[in-house]
């Protein structure tokens, strides 16, 4: 075990080095840039034997990574916000071609107005693309999720690309001690690069030629099947990793004081740490509250969350993104997903906050959770939808 003080971005780079990628293609964008800068340093110094392809845009970055991947290389890229939106066409292309690829998204608000601070809008904008989507809470988890992403993506039961989300600056540029596993042990665990086909000139084939509607639909149905199957793989990988490297998170979700809670909070990302702090304060005051943290938003863990909230008095979902004209993406997925298992939903509140990088602290969560529970205990349901905003 080696402890290194790493920013979230350097934790990504460290994990990519441990995965021994062959190709990195990237275009700089704040707050992602220090990932590929660090990878370029590793390549320059010989610590990582890989090709760095410098491209003129994010659209080309993912296209280059895709090309390298179908040629048999373990390939990686990273981006943020506008860059991610610019590569969006390729985001779909990669998953529909069923080629394993890993990408880190260091989240940042979408312009205009120009803004470099974090929310989840860019990341959650990708939720219909057919990528496995994980999201970290701290830099240790960033490293662990990135290593695991290669294992999951290259599993023949999955064969889908994986993106890892981490908030810009909050994780991306903030340091914490990170346990970096033994490189040989990681290489052994990840094994050889696995993919369903390769373009190596030995046999002619075409990718992306015209398909009839029925054939097309069958291929897309298989993406849905693979998503379902990937749930097992994600849990398996989390457990294996736990046995080998000492950290197990719980698969698609991570829980904090869930089992005896009567009120449940649902969240994703770095601010889950602040929510845990507020929960500790509330627990001291006797509030039976717990946190369900979404680690994978695709596949969405509706069944896993249902198992916990089926007898809950209330669920509060904090969303750091909004689908304008509707509600928060996590809330919509959760409500829709729960209806597969029950006709009796608990009271479910959606609080939008932290948009455009507005800083939300444990005091805010403490106040919002306490107000909601106090009101419900008095028999008054707070509004289901709230956009919480504050200045200073």
């Amino acid at each position: 075990m080696v402890l290194k003080v790493l920013t979230g971005n350097y934790a990504v780079a460290e994990a990519v080095k441990l995965a021994r990628v062959d190709v990195v293609a990237a275009y700089p964008i704040t707050p992602q840039t220090s990932i590929v800068e660090k990878l370029a340093e590793y390549i320059e110094s010989g610590e990582l034997e890989a090709k760095m392809i410098r491209v003129e845009s994010e659209h080309s970055a993912l296209a280059a990574v895709f090309g390298a991947a179908i040629a048999g290389a373990r390939a990686f890229t990273a981006t943020s916000s506008q860059g991610l939106l610019y590569m969006h066409e390729w985001v779909h292309w990669v998953s529909r071609a069923r080629i394993p690829v890993v990408m880190a998204i260091v989240t940042r608000a979408i312009g205009t107005p120009w803004n470099i601070w974090p929310d989840h809008a860019d990341f959650l904008d990708q939720r219909d693309t057919g990528w496995i989507m994980s999201f970290a809470m701290d830099n240790q988890e960033v490293l662990d999720l990135t290593i695991q992403a290669f294992k999951i993506s290259e599993d023949p039961r999955v064969y889908l690309p994986v993106m890892i989300g981490l908030e810009g600056f909050i994780l991306g540029h903030t340091s914490m001690p990170v346990d970096v596993p033994d490189p040989d042990k990681v290489a052994e665990w990840l094994g050889p690069r696995r993919q369903p086909y390769v373009i190596d000139g030995s046999k002619p084939w075409a990718l992306g030629s015209l398909a009839w509607p029925e054939e097309t639909e069958e291929m897309f149905m298989d993406i849905q099947k693979a998503m379902e199957e990937s749930k097992k793989v994600i849990v398996e990988v989390d457990e294996e990793y736990g046995r080998l490297f000492g950290r197990k998170y719980g698969g698609l979700i991570a829980c904090h004081r869930c089992s005896d809670a009567k009120y449940h909070i649902v969240s994703m990302g770095a601010w889950s740490g602040d929510i845990i702090e507020s929960i500790e304060l509330l627990r001291n005051e006797g509030y039976p509250v717990g946190l369900i943290r979404i680690r994978y938003v695709r596949p969405f863990p509706d069944k896993e969350i249902y198992g916990i909230v089926s007898n809950s008095r209330a669920v509060i979902v904090f969303d750091r993104a909004i689908s304008y004209g509707s509600m928060g993406p996590l809330y919509m997925d959760l409500v829709a997903g729960l209806t597969k298992y029950t006709r009796k939903l608990p009271y479910m509140r959606n609080i939008i906050a932290g948009i455009g990088g507005v800083n939300i602290t444990y005091q805010d969560f403490y106040k919002l959770i306490k107000e909601t529970i106090d009101s419900l205990e008095k028999g008054v349901e707070p509004p289901v939808f709230t956009w919480y905003h504050r200045r200073g």
């Binding site: 990628v21 062959d22 034997e49 290389a73 529909r96 369903p196 046999k203 002619p204 298989d222 693979a226």
Partner: protein
Amino acid sequence: MTKLVIVESKYKIPLALPKIGAAGKTGLWRLERPVVDTSKCTRCFQCEIYCPANVIRVDKEKGAMINYDYCKGCGICANVCPAKAITMVKEGE
């Protein structure tokens, strides 16, 4: 480079293998037929290189040979032929 292993999956993947005539005998679409005068053909391969349907082969002995099952009669070969050895003839004539 990281060792590569191809492990096929049960999933349908948008790959297509090449096959002659996957869309049927497309030569049926032809309105005009290129006809080669082999005595004029210099075996320069221009027609074979330019043919967008890849249906011309230039044989050293016989000159340019066209597979009419798939030739759609676009006339590019007749246009590029420096020896003017190819003429377009209306189908049915």
